[in-house]
Amino acid sequence: MSAISDETEPSFRLSMLVNDTRYRSLTFQFIALILLIVFMAYLGMNLVQNLATAGLNISYGFLSEPAGYDINQRLIEYDSQSTHRAAAYVGILNTLLVAFLGCLTATVLGVVAGVLRLSGNWLVAKLMAVYVEAFRNVPVLIWILIINTIVITLPAPRAYRGETPDAEMLFGMIAYTNRGIYFPAPVWGSGSLIVVGVFLASIVGIFAYRRYAKNLLYSSGKLLPTFWPSVALFFVPTILAYFVMGRPVTLDYPALQGFNFQGGLQVQRPLIALWLALSVYTGAFIAENVRAGIQAVNKGQSEAAGALGLRPGRIMNLVVLPQALRVIIPPLISQYLNITKNSSLAIAVGYADITATLGGITLNQTGRAIESVLLLMLFYLVISLSISMVMNFYNNSVTLKER
């Protein structure tokens, strides 16, 4: 009889750090951490040494100094005496403005092109394929510069002058010049608040009505019309309130004064070039996402819906789209992120976004390269991290719960 003695717990040996899988990963991580720290320290020491040689330091004091440059397109009060910080805020708002506008139009363009590319109409489908391939395969910077060139070739403001002008305003109220496009701007008189209030209330009313109609349909099977009542609710109360209050909202038309148009709402050339280019470029990518999403829905789904007797419009709305959206929305959101990041190309056409103010003029004037670029990166990081947080939240909420 041979007793199997318990193996005694082996004492720790140094070779186990490499050979024993329990400790090996710790060894690796420790080495990686040391290497990282050494690398960072090396960079830091270089930085300190270089700064000392150049007689510089790291300081954010320049943000409070007057910027000394003008910005044409701005959403908040700013003049050349304002600080660099104010210039950066103007830049941030401009970035957000063009990103927001770009997202809106790119989505519309992309959805239309994506759906039309699947259309049964051969010509339209081919045309959309040409659009998508042409825009996806050429750098966005080239598109921005091309559209900038198109805007430059619009008539100059002086073409609108004289008895027989070379150019005429669209509908007598929209002037398109090589400096930008001028729209009539609304002037909010007294009592306009009520009109706006009525308008907002009528939008709430539309949703309430649709909800009521849906509940009625589910509980009693009675189908109320929704389209025309919604249209009526949208327009009628607001127009009534507008006339009842004595037409408080008027339009300020752009008019030629001196060398340029004054008044109205002006959208300047750089913004137009950037906005349009980003929209058509990203629209082509979104079109592909939309097409992929619709094709990802099993054909059996729409056939089954057809077998239940649904009409084509309802098949799209009730069966195909809800399933396709699950596939479309995550890449759509990352396209929004791309628009925001690509809007940094504004610097190429002179649109004053954050890259052009903080990373361009401010950097060049103050020579604070490290600080400016760091702040710039921080801004974009915050934007993209928050967008990806939204995306993760959405993904978690729509993931099919499968076992």
Partner: protein, 431 residues
């Protein structure tokens, strides 16, 4: 019986009537048009609208191209030749061709070198792109980087030969040691190559005029050549780095995983242009004092980091898409981590990631034009700077931008078509 029947009827038809032709609306082109262009009224309206749009575009573009002037010296001469008619001054492309392709500063008599490098590039990527090409051509691919470096930057022929020899030494040491342990092989090979290169440095210094080509410094590179150099170098460098980052992000080791996550998310969160600003004005502060990295090298470093973060995410997708059974099968065969990755996981994961990698490569190639913003003279930089600003060609926008767009379209579209073809070739699942 049958003949009585035959006698009782006056006429019996023995062969059937030929089938009547289908109605004209149900055959040929008319049917096709009815079904594909005018199926419903909205469809017909769409068709007419598209026809109108095509007509508008073509009626502007076709005379512009057919009336184009190719031989003029400058814009005034071109306008005189056109005499008010619609037409493009394409002579700007022929007259400035060398600037568009090679930049301003590349020595004129050395143009054959980048051209040869470009031709060799096409020959040497051939065996990589097409699996059916003879395997021996891969040797060409392996020596290509060294040859291309020598051709484009010049210098003594010893440089590429000794660099290649160092790489061979490293590879030999690696293949000797890898049988026992991957880490030993990898680091052993790296050390051996480094020692060989260090020794080669002396030899190159000693024989700096052996078969020397005229040296061209990096800042003389420009035009479309610069876009090609940046695109090819950065994509090929970022692939291995991207694989390492993706594996790191999938790893169980906490520290390594988080280093990779922070790196990837940081790079993906900022626009490329800010990274180029870093290359332009910030990176120099972090390099050892007195070191003199030229701008193109700093830009290559930053674009490579940028691309590798994106490629890492694509490959991570491929790794995640592999069924768990593959990992478990590799474990149960007793393969260690490097073996499992090299032999089982990565070949499959990379195959899944090919479309994504190609997308990143195309996107990166397009993004190389951003270097024009930090005032490097790539294709776009050349057009915006020296060409449009010159008095000879001031205002010839359409021809130049059209040329640039066409060039990028041809390259990027063919790459994406190739990737779709490759995807079909590699499809091993049965559908």
């Amino acid at each position: 019986m049958s003949d009585t029947h035959a006698a009782s009827t006056a006429f019996v038809r023995h062969d059937p009537l030929p089938p009547a032709p289908p109605p004209v609306t149900e055959t040929g082109i008319v049917k096709w048009m009815r079904e594909n262009l005018f199926a419903t009224i909205p469809n017909a309206i769409l068709t007419l609208l598209s026809l109108w749009a095509i007509y508008t575009v073509l009626s502007g573009v076709i005379p512009w191209i057919t009336n184009g002037v190719w031989g003029a010296e400058n814009i005034r001469e071109c306008r005189e030749l056109l005499a008010g008619a619609t037409g493009g001054c394409f002579s700007v492309i022929s007259e400035r061709w060398n600037q568009l392709v090679f930049g301003i500063a590349y020595p004129r008599e050395e143009y054959w070198r980048p051209t040869l490098a470009f031709v060799l590039l096409i020959v040497s990527v051939f065996p990589v792109l097409f699996p059916r090409a003879p395997r021996k051509m891969l040797i060409l691919t392996i020596i290509y980087p060294f040859v291309a470096y020598w051709l484009i930057w010049g210098g003594t022929v010893l440089t590429p030969i000794l660099l290649f020899a160092g790489a061979v030494v490293g590879y030999v040491v690696y293949s000797k040691l890898v049988a026992s342990n991957f880490a030993a092989g990898f680091f052993g090979g790296l050390t051996a190559a480094a020692i060989a290169w260090w020794l080669a440095g002396f030899a190159i210094d000693a024989g700096s005029d052996v078969l020397a080509l005229r040296e061209v410094v990096s800042r003389d590179m420009g035009g479309f050549m610069l876009n090609m150099i940046l695109g090819v170098v950065c994509v090929s460098l970022s692939l291995p780095i991207g694989i390492v980052l993706a594996l790191g992000r999938q790893s169980d080791m906490f520290v390594i995983k988080w280093i990779c996550i922070v790196f990837i998310e940081f790079i993906r969160g900022v626009p490329l242009i800010t990274l180029l600003f870093v290359a332009n004005v910030v990176l120099a502060y972090f390099l050892p004092p007195g070191s003199n990295f030229d701008l193109i090298l700093r830009v290559i470093i930053m674009i490579t980091m940028f691309a590798s973060a994106y490629i890492a995410e694509v490959i991570r997708g491929g790794l995640a898409a592999l069924p768990k059974g593959q990992y478990e099968a590799a474990d149960s065969l007793g393969l260690d981590y490097p073996q499992a990755m090299r032999l089982i996981i990565l070949p499959q994961a990379l195959k899944i990631s090919i479309p994504g990698i190609v997308n990143v490569a195309v996107g990166l190639f397009k993004d190389t034009v951003l270097v024009s913003i930090i005032s490097m003279f790539d294709l776009v930089g050349m057009i915006r700077g020296p060409i449009l600003a010159s008095t000879d060609w001031n205002g010839v926008y359409w021809e130049l931008w059209g040329f640039a767009a066409l060039l990028f379209f041809v390259v990027c579209y063919s790459i994406s078509q190739y990737s779709q073809w490759l995807e079909r070739q590699l499809q091993t699942d049965h559908r």
